[in-house]
């Protein structure tokens, strides 16, 4: 089992979501995040135009069975890309164990519906 975390542009969220559904990833969590670094984006507040280094992005978190890792990553890679700097990153890490609270199923079985 792997957890895939992807930081993407907010403007690409709908496309990524659709692409994930198309490869049968039908459930994930997301939240809005702020990145802070040396790159900047233009911002206007009360007529003052300035470069802001607070960058708004969206993070997706998806836990999948090993067989699904590649197609999930590809779905995100292909839809979240614009080619400009700031398209985001994808991280994949191991998940030691998972449990479905309702049934007590563990491991990969907890991640999908058998019926």
């Amino acid at each position: 089992m792997k957890r895939i975390e992807a930081i993407i542009r907010k403007s690409k969220f709908e496309e990524v979501k659709k692409a994930l559904y198309e490869v049968d990833i039908d459930w994930f969590s997301y939240w809005d995040i702020t990145g802070l670094g040396k790159s900047t984006e233009e911002q206007v507040v009360r007529g003052q135009v300035f470069q802001s280094n607070y960058i708004q992005r969206r993070m997706l978190s998806i836990v999948v069975r090993d067989v699904n890792v590649e197609k999930t990553v590809n779905a995100i890679m292909n839809t979240a890309r614009t080619g400009d700097p700031g398209d985001g990153k994808i991280f994949v890490c191991d998940v030691e164990q998972s449990y479905r609270i309702r049934t007590g199923e563990t491991g990969p079985e907890a991640l999908y519906n058998k019926e």
Partner: protein
């Protein structure tokens, strides 16, 4: 406003007076005027809480929003009491001898000697003869006191925008009380009291451009400079934390301003209607102008921008509301947005001072522009006794300039001294940790948007 111009007042409103009970030997309350002034008074309270509180509260970061709301509501509480204790008496009462043109006395302290049945000694367009041959207003004295109370409340609240996000609450509170006593009360007396020296000089300030906006605006820049920049200020505006709050606040200010301006004639009549008209149109014009400037300069019309423009228009029309017509309102609306936009978008970042929410840039600059343009655009069509430079009366422009300059000087120097004194007494600047964690938590032990259900 508060033109106790006994003779002029009578001449101007002969029609209105005769409409009342003709053989009025005993003066009576005009129920129409009184009903409107009760509503107008409540509308002006709405400008501070929640109008200004939300407008400013939305503009700060979320760690400081409660501090702004608290400042607004405690000013409402404290200054309302101060007003009854001595503020009204010092502003609108009389004193004797050399001080009479500069400050009222303590005759009306705790509203001493003012009774339910008393009529307002202050009036503009509606008045009536008294049994002993004098002239008196048509609304209860108590309503006039309360109406003015709301002005005394909102003026120090406007200054909050300059020192937001970095002032110690105790210092803020001490300073606000001192400032109301020693700055607001005298200037209100100068401009609006029948004894006031600027009133006698003929300065025109229908609803408080000088007393409220220039006064608070200059105090704002002085306190912002003395307090220093926010420690993380980068030389440009910090994005607002809740723009819908800014919008609601601006909308409530716009709404409440009809009480502020259309109520400042102290009557429900044509002058109030004209004040309502020019107030609304100046706000609309300034809002549209700012949105277009935003669009042109920043690429997109912003909500914060159009709200700021509306407020700037309302500020600038305030002194003029009883003296200019529709044309004047359109000119003032365009002019104030252009000038304030330049001030906020270019001059402030260039000079580098941290007027956090542009209290000086909008209220100070907008107020000065409004006071000066009143001296230009005042038209005899509205009140026959008053005209400005555009109608040949250049003298009025000079008088307006004197009123602006003396207010800037007195309030500027006075604010400096009182802020210094407050710093010595209780301290004004939040320390590093207090400022970093936010004033909500460090000053009040509360957070606005908790992580708990």
């Amino acid at each position: 406003m508060k033109k106790v111009a006994f003779i002029i007042g009578l001449l101007m409103t002969a029609g209105a007076v005769s409409a009342q009970t003709a053989p009025a030997v005993i003066p009576v309350v005009d129920t129409g005027d009184t009903a409107w002034m009760i509503v107008a008074t409540a509308l002006v309270l709405l400008m501070t809480i929640p109008g200004l509180a939300l407008f400013y509260g939305g503009l700060v970061r979320r760690k400081n929003v409660l501090n702004v709301l608290m400042q607004c509501i405690i000013i409402t509480a404290v200054i309302s009491i101060e007003w009854m204790v001595c503020g009204y008496s010092l502003s609108f009462g009389s004193s004797h001898g050399v001080l009479a043109p500069f400050i009222g006395g303590f005759d009306w302290a705790f509203l001493n000697g003012i009774h339910i049945g008393d009529l307002s000694p202050y009036f503009i367009s509606h008045s009536q003869p008294t049994a002993d041959g004098g002239t008196i207003g048509t609304i209860p004295h108590i309503i006039f006191i309360l109406f003015q109370c709301m002005f005394a409340v909102i003026t120090p609240a406007l200054i909050i925008g300059a020192f937001s996000e970095r002032i110690k609450f105790k210092g803020f509170l001490v300073f606000t009380i001192l400032w109301s006593l020693f700055i607001y009360n005298p200037i209100a007396h100068w401009v609006w009291s029948s004894d006031g020296w600027l009133f006698k000089l003929g300065a025109l300030d229908f609803a408080g451009g000088t007393v409220v906006h220039i006064n608070a605006g200059i105090a704002a820049i002085v306190t912002a400079l003395m307090l220093g920049k926010r420690r993380d200020y980068q030389g440009h505006a910090i994005p607002p934390h809740n723009i819908p709050h800014v919008f609601i606040g601006a909308a409530l200010l716009w709404f409440g301003w009809f009480g502020f301006n259309a109520g400042s004639g102290l009557a429900a009549d044509g002058l109030a209607a004209n004040a309502f008209l020019v107030t609304h149109i100046a706000a609309a014009t300034a809002a549209l102008t700012w949105a277009l400037l935003d669009w042109f300069h920043g690429g997109k019309p912003t909500i914060v921008g159009i709200c700021t423009g509306a407020v700037a228009g309302l500020v600038a029309i305030t002194p003029a509301a009883g003296f200019v017509d529709l044309t004047g309102a359109l000119i003032i609306g365009v002019a104030v947005s252009v000038i304030c936009f330049l001030m906020v978008a270019f001059v402030k970042p260039k000079l580098g001072y941290d007027d956090a929410l542009d209290a000086f840039g909008v209220h100070g600059i907008g107020g000065i522009l409004g006071a000066i343009l009143t001296g230009v655009l005042a038209t005899p069509i509205v009140q026959s006794a008053y005209s400005g430079a555009a109608y040949g009366n250049w003298h009025q422009l000079g008088v307006q300039a004197i009123a602006v300059a003396t207010t800037l000087a007195y309030s500027g120097v006075g604010t400096f001294l009182l802020f210094k004194l407050t710093d010595k007494l209780v301290g004004v600047r939040a320390d590093v940790a207090e400022e970093a964690i936010g004033l909500d938590e460090s000053q009040h032990g509360e957070t606005a948007y908790t992580a708990f259900d």
